[in-house]
Each structure stands twice: as C-alpha cells, then as structure tokens.
C-alpha cells in the first residue's frame, strides 16, 4: 500500500516524464528544425512573395535584386563628366567584381548597410565611385561573397565592371588591420591616387565577431576617369 507522500512523488514524476520533458524536447526540436531549415525555406518564401504579393524582382531582397548593371560597357579609357553617366542610387547593384585567384564574382552594391551586405559586395558612401582618382572602398561578408579574399596574391588583377565603365586594378599589397586602425588605410582611402580597397572580416572562417579585417590594396590599371564637379 502506497503512502500519501509516495503517491505525490509518483504524481510529480508522472508530470515530469509524460508532460514536461516531452514539451521541452518538442520545443527544442522545433527550434532546431527551424534553424536548420531556414536556408531551404528562405528561397521558397521569396518565390512565394514574388508570386503572391506586390513585390517584384526589384524589391525582393535577394542577390542581384535592384540591379541596374546589364553587363560590361566595354569602356576602358577616356574621361566622363558628371552629365555623361548616371550616378548609382543608394542600394542599387551598379556593377560586378571578380578577383583573380579567388572565387570572388559578385554584384557591387552602392552603400554598405547591414542589410545591403547580405546582397553582395558593398561600396562605402565614405569613398568615391571608381574613376574619381581617389580611394574606392568595397567590403563584403567573410562567410559568403568575400570568403576567398584572404587567398588573393599580390599581382592579381581585379576586374570591376560598372554601369559606366570597365575598370581593372592590380593587388599591390595585403594587410590585416584592426577595424579601428584608420591609420592603416586612411591615406589610401583619401589620397590623390586611385586605389581600390577590398576588405572583409578576418579570419574568414570565424563565426564569432572579430575586430580584424583583411585588406587588399589594389592600384589602378585602366578605366575611364570621372569628374564629379560641374
């Protein structure tokens, strides 16, 4: 014959074994499924949004969305005045970048907010567009678009096609700098020589936040020059 306290214990144990633990495991299971299936579901949701909502290819937040780049212009030299070309709009994909010796081949977006960085390589509004004869700063995520940037070798050519011209740069040095080490890049960014600065978080395989950035400094080889002043 079971006493009252034994009955209570048995009741509590029953609750734990048949109610609490299954619920906890179920919730954890759903969480795991959600996280692991998100990469598969996201593209399907994008298709759904495209088909059944007011969104269109210009507004779906996927790589290539908002692109005004339609392939190479073939313009590799000459001079462009401010009224000879269309200045890129914020958030538009106005070009494409490829880097020799790496797998980098991605859109170049004008602006570099957290949202835009999900779409491709992003040009900072703190730098000028290619052709202005000063620094061009482009960054991208280390786990996607610029994952292979640290493997670039000095001398490698960088091809940057834009809506108004085709640019070629050559990597002349690489460096690992802290994100607040402005002295490491400021002279190139604001100098009177055209330099393309490509950067990504370093190390490239880390999933944690890192203060280090891998920089590839590239000298101008060819492409039309641009005048922004009237």
């Amino acid at each position: 014959m079971k006493t009252d306290s034994e009955k209570n214990r048995s009741k509590k144990s029953y609750r734990k074994q048949f109610i609490l633990f299954p619920v906890v495991f179920l919730l954890c299971g759903y969480l795991l499924l959600f996280v692991s299936l998100t990469p598969i579901l996201d593209p399907l949701l994008s298709v759904y949004r495209l088909a059944f909502s007011n969104a269109n290819v210009e507004t779906i937040d996927e790589p290539g969305a908002g692109s005004i780049f339609n392939g190479s212009t073939g313009l590799t030299s000459g001079h462009l005045n401010w009224n000879d070309f269309e200045f890129p709009e914020y958030g538009s994909a106005f070009g494409r970048i490829t880097v020799e010796g790496t797998e980098i081949d991605t859109d170049v977006i004008y602006g570099d907010s957290t949202t835009l960085l999900k779409r491709g390589a992003c040009m900072s509004m703190y730098s000028h567009i290619p052709g202005c004869g000063t620094g061009v700063l482009i960054g991208a995520h280390n786990n996607t678009y610029f994952h292979t940037l640290p493997y670039v070798q000095e001398g490698a050519l960088v091809h940057l096609e834009t809506t108004y011209g085709s640019y070629v740069y050559r990597v002349y040095k690489t460096a690992i700098l802290k994100n607040d080490d402005a002295a490491g890049y400021r002279s190139e960014l604001n100098g009177d020589k055209e330099v393309l600065l490509l950067y990504t978080c370093y190390p490239n395989d880390t999933i944690a936040s890192t203060p280090y950035r891998f920089f590839a400094f590239c000298e101008y080889v060819s492409g039309p020059t641009v005048n922004m002043y009237e």
Binding site: S13, Q17, F21, V24, F25, C28, G29, L31, L32, V35, S36, T38, N81, W82, N83, E86, F87, Y90, G91, G111, D112, S113, T114, L116, L117, K118, C122, S124, M125, Y126, S127, H128, I129, L137, G139, A140, H141, N142, N143, F146, N179, D180, A182, Y185, R186, L189, N190, Y199, T200, C201, T206, I207, A208, S209, T210, R213, N227, M228, Y229, E230
Partner: protein
C-alpha cells in the same frame, strides 16, 4: 571621446546639408560652398575641428544626386548656423554631454527640419554611439531610402552567426535536458 563627440556633431551637420532635389547633377558652386563651410566652420575652444575626409566624401556623394540652388544654399546655411550656435551654447565636449542634455535629439531635429522642407525625412536606427549598428537614414516622401550611414567607416563584415548561436544554444539545451532526464529516470528506477 571629445573627438568622437565632435565627429558625431559634424556628421549631423553633414546630414543637415544633404538637402535633396529632384535632378541628378554634379557638385555645383553652392554645394562646394557648403562643403567648405562644413570643413571650416566648426570651432570648439578656439580650435577648428578638422572634418575627416571620409565625411566630406559622403557629402560629395550625396551632392551628386541633388542640385542645390542659391535659395536652398542660403536656407541650409541658416540652419547650419543655428545648429552651430546650439552646439557652442551647450559647449558640447564629450559624447556624454550630448546624450545627457538631450542634444542629439535637438541636432537631429535641425537636420529633419531642413530635409522636411522638400518632403524628405531623417530617422535613426539604433544608437549612433554604436558605430557598427547605428544608422542615419534619409528617406524621400515615398519612403524610399536615399542614404544610410553607419558611423563606422569600416563596417562589420563577419559571418552572421545568429543562426549558429541559436542552433548551438538549442543543441546544448536538448543535451542538458536529456542529461537531467536520464539522471532522474535512473535514480527513480534504482529506487523502485
């Protein structure tokens, strides 16, 4: 900290001068004058604060999408003068001074006032003291984003580890729960 506070104020002043228009253009003489104003007018304790070249570049980039007229220039300059007078009257020296006195809001209000004249709006996302995530956002009357600026020139380009962190946390939770459950079951079966 003083430098950071000054940069922040300068950034706000820059945004004030980003008055949009509806025709794209190069940088005209009035815009050049505004750039010069921003470079030279901000003085703290008798010392001119040198505006970092990156901020001027951002301003130039915005000016390529606008065509500021003489009347607009005068209006903007008036607002810049007011903003500068406010900064001086508050003697803002540190980042704490700006937040303590609620000056950030006031300075952003100057910017919003200027932009509102032509139907544009200024907003912020997150704290501007957070260089990586804080954002100054300018939108047009239709809500289209004209520009977004993080205070940090070099942005955060690390892997987005949110999913991985969730996955890890869930896995740890499942393992911990399983461990506790097994221990309890074993104890109870031993007792029986």
């Amino acid at each position: 900290m003083k430098k950071l506070a000054c940069l922040m104020v300068v950034a706000v002043l820059l945004v004030v001068s980003m008055v949009p228009a509806f025709a794209a253009s190069g940088i005209n003489e009035y815009e050049k004058k505004l750039i010069e104003y921003v470079q030279t007018a901000y003085v703290v304790d008798g010392k001119t604060i040198t505006v970092p070249a990156e901020y001027i570049t951002a301003l130039e980039n915005v000016f390529t999408n606008v065509d500021t007229t003489e009347a607009q220039y005068n209006e903007i300059k008036g607002i810049l003068d007011e903003a500068l007078a406010f900064v001086k009257s508050k003697n803002l020296q540190t980042l704490e001074d700006i937040t303590k006195t609620g000056s950030t809001k006031t300075l952003l209000a100057y910017a919003d006032k200027a932009l509102g004249v032509v139907g544009f709006k200024l907003s912020t996302k997150g704290s501007l003291a957070d260089a990586d995530h804080g954002l100054l956002i300018i939108t047009d009357a239709n809500g289209k984003v004209i520009a977004e600026l993080h205070p940090a020139v070099i942005t955060k380009t690390g892997a987005d580890f949110t999913s991985a962190a969730f996955c890890g946390a869930a896995a740890v939770a499942v393992l911990a729960a399983a461990g506790v459950a097994v221990k309890r079951f074993r104890k109870e079966s031993d007792e029986d």
